[in-house]
């Protein structure tokens, strides 16, 4: 089945029936490619551009490092609270107000 399909595709390919390029055509194509490559504007190597790029990269690295340091807080181990211990919850309302709530079983108001 696979072979039949492959044969059918090959038979239906119009390129197999077209004549190949002549040597003259191949040479003409090559000449045009070479001349196009020679006449293309040469992009000079600009050391100033490279230095500026390096400075931008360095700045970005410093920014990321500073940002990560400023957002790093102390990490406390997570332990399960005892039943009679106060528990603290922190959440934020849809309006953006942050609420810190202490559930204290021993609270006397």
């Amino acid at each position: 089945m696979k072979h039949e399909l492959r044969d059918q595709l090959r038979d239906a390919d119009p390129l197999t029936r077209e004549p190949a390029l002549t040597i003259e055509d191949v040479h003409a194509m090559r000449r045009r490619s070479v001349s196009a490559a020679r006449t293309a504007p040469y992009r000079r190597n600009r050391p100033g551009l490279r230095a500026a790029g390096a400075i931008v990269l360095a700045c970005m690295v410093v920014m990321v490092f500073t940002w990560s340091r400023s957002n790093r807080g102390p990490v406390n181990p997570v332990t399960a609270p005892k039943l009679d211990e106060p528990r603290q919850l922190q959440f934020e309302t849809p309006g953006g107000t942050r609420i810190i709530w202490v559930l204290n079983p021993n609270l006397e108001l």
Partner: protein, 158 residues
């Protein structure tokens, strides 16, 4: 080349801004509220920031009324300690203390080694953070009232 110079300037400015200290504060406004199962929600007599915080928490917390027990103001800045006294129920007063660190504060309400509240949190100038406490009664969760503090860091120059 101009674009790269602009990018460079933006990077330098962003790095400098990030490394700077946060905006200064000049003190804290402290509002002591009692959350109850009946009563009303204060609509005036408080700062806009505090009123906005109450409007936010009334949608969130299981209390129908918020009684203003007292309001206080203490001067303060980053890396300082401010103390004050605020009236609780029946004119019984409670001591409070706000110790600040860069970009945050530790708030303590109540006397002795076991205060009613003792919490540390980040706070920005102009922001109101709600700190509250309540009992937990699993069988009757509606029977509780709650002590609520609205702590607003007042920005310098406001």
């Amino acid at each position: 080349m101009r674009i790269i110079i602009l990018m460079l300037l933006a990077c330098v400015l962003a790095t400098t801004a990030n490394a700077q200290q946060p905006a200064q504060i000049r003190g804290f406004s402290v509002v002591l509220l009692l959350g109850e199962q009946q009563g009303s929600v204060p609509a005036e007599g408080l700062s806009p920031s505090a009123l906005r915080a109450i409007a936010d928490i009334k949608e969130f917390l299981p209390y129908k009324g918020y009684r203003v027990l007292d309001t206080q103001w203490v001067a303060g800045s980053w890396h300082s300690s401010s103390k004050g006294r605020i009236n609780n129920l029946d004119n019984f007063s409670l001591d409070f203390q706000v110790d600040t660190f860069t970009g945050g504060a530790k708030f303590r309400l109540g006397p002795g080694p076991e205060p009613l509240l003792e919490n540390s949190f980040a706070i920005k100038p102009g922001e109101t953070v709600v700190v509250g406490t309540s009992r937990v009664v699993a069988s009757r969760p509606q029977a509780n009232s709650a002590m609520i503090v609205l702590l607003t860091a007042v920005a310098a120059g406001k």
